[in-house]
Subunit: 286 residues, 2 copies
């Protein structure tokens, strides 16, 4: 049997980068959990002495603080700076972009429309960069635009994880009623890249292993996509759930992983499969 | 019987303004016909000595030249200025806006996408304002976007008479593939205002008179809309086509007119109806 990894799987660029940044700053604290995976947070704690501050009060004066991929509100950043914390900025560049856009467009007098979830840390950070908070509006869907006092010049950004087609609905509702709509496509397609890559691989594979949390919506989505192309698709959280019978008589085992699954768990799964059946080759899709 | 004019009908704001400007400049020439209505062009010729230059060579040195509502290409304007013509600018402000947007956005390094007809005088004028013609693209529909070398920052304008829903199709095709899409809604809703007003009036009227060219697409569209609400709807070019029998036993006669129909033809129609039947009141919808 051959084992092939999807061309894109697991952590996105921003999360990989944040973990690398944390590893390079032993003894620092992350402000909020760096990733929704306890095993990985434990690994950082044990291997690199990376602490966790759940709230601002948990950050001591002059602590080195890692800002996670979602970014944080401008005033919290100012407070950390005021108390002389060393700021280690692991904000995903795909999140820094909408923060900067909101700051600049707001400065130029545009109304700001943010398509996203007002309770999500990313969006709390992004909206905080608007110069005039009275002129910045967060909408979870197109219906929430109704009756908002949006100016004739409006700049629009989206939460990085939103679906492009839903973003277009918001934009389409604005264009007929506003002179200028400045649309910044700030959606990151990492999620879609993992999905597309898993689908491609599942077409060829005769068994697919999807690794991730059983309650993670993005992992379940991956599993469902794989199943539609390869009926022998299994969702597991780690290597202990593997079953030798799954690989009997199989030619190609494809592997994908959810966005919160660290590479070392993927590697454990591959090692265990290799201990179960004869594997001629482990490769990665182009 | 009562006669009621639609709340919006006939010439749009830009055409009314251009005719007024021409009347104020007796002895000038329009560069291209000011309006697609020969009766009106004759009236301006006879009453105000307004000539017609069909092409640039027909403009003599130092002639006073009226630029019509569509505007003209930048180089032709420069040539008129070079030969010391007095420029009387009747370009519709709704056309000057996209000309200025194209100039400014092009200066700032944006790719320019113009949704419109490349052979239409308005669009020939608008595109001429792009600093870099290699980076300005005219598309008649969304399919024409395929394979164009559009930069990641793009500004989009539309021909003033396009349908908003078709404009959105072009915008929607750009947003997923470009970092910033700056959408300027340059569509003028004069056409839709006439249509909406005619529909409103036709709901109440028991006879509708639509005045305009029998081959004018916007007049035919008005007639068709009226007919769907009021079965006794008639399309006429002028008062000579009126028929007394149309008004027999009618309560309310509604009147609308196509975009190239001058007010004095509308007035002739009203006068003739008044000579045919007893009219208690002539009013205009709010």
């Amino acid at each position: 049997m051959k084992i092939q990894l999807a061309s894109s799987y697991g952590f996105c660029f921003g999360v990989k980068r944040a973990i690398k940044i944390a590893e390079e700053h032993q003894g620092s604290k992350t402000y909020g959990p760096l990733i929704h995976n306890k095993d990985e947070i434990n690994r950082l704690k044990e291997g690199f002495n990376i602490g966790l501050a759940e709230k601002l009060e948990d950050v001591d004066r002059r602590d080195a603080v890692v800002i996670r991929t979602h970014g944080i509100p401008k005033d919290e950043l100012a407070q950390l700076k005021a108390q002389e914390n060393e700021i280690i900025d692991a904000t995903c560049p795909y999140v820094t972009t909408p923060q900067n856009i909101v700051a600049q467009m707001s400065e130029k007098g545009y109304s700001i429309v943010i398509f996203g979830d007002k309770n999500h840390p990313e969006i709390k950070g992004v909206v905080s960069y608007a110069k005039d908070q009275q002129n910045a509006f967060i909408v979870a869907d197109v219906k929430e635009l109704d009756g908002l006092p949006i100016l004739s010049k409006v700049a629009v950004v989206a939460q990085t994880t939103r679906k492009p087609e839903d973003f277009l609905k918001v934009v389409n509702a604005l264009i007929p009623h506003h002179k200028e709509v400045r649309v910044f496509n700030t959606i990151c397609n990492a999620t879609f890249e993992n999905q597309d890559a898993a689908a491609e691989l599942a077409k060829d594979a005769d068994v697919m292993i999807v690794i991730g949390g059983k309650h993670s919506s993005n992992t379940k989505q991956l599993h469902s996509i794989c199943k539609s192309y390869c009926s022998d698709s299994y969702l597991i959280e780690n290597e202990t759930e593997l079953n030798t019978s799954w690989f009997k008589g199989k030619r190609l085992c494809g592997i994908s992983a959810g966005a919160s699954t660290p590479d070392w768990i993927v590697q454990n799964v591959i090692d265990t499969i290799q201990s179960m059946v004869r594997v001629e080759e482990v490769g990665k899709s182009e």
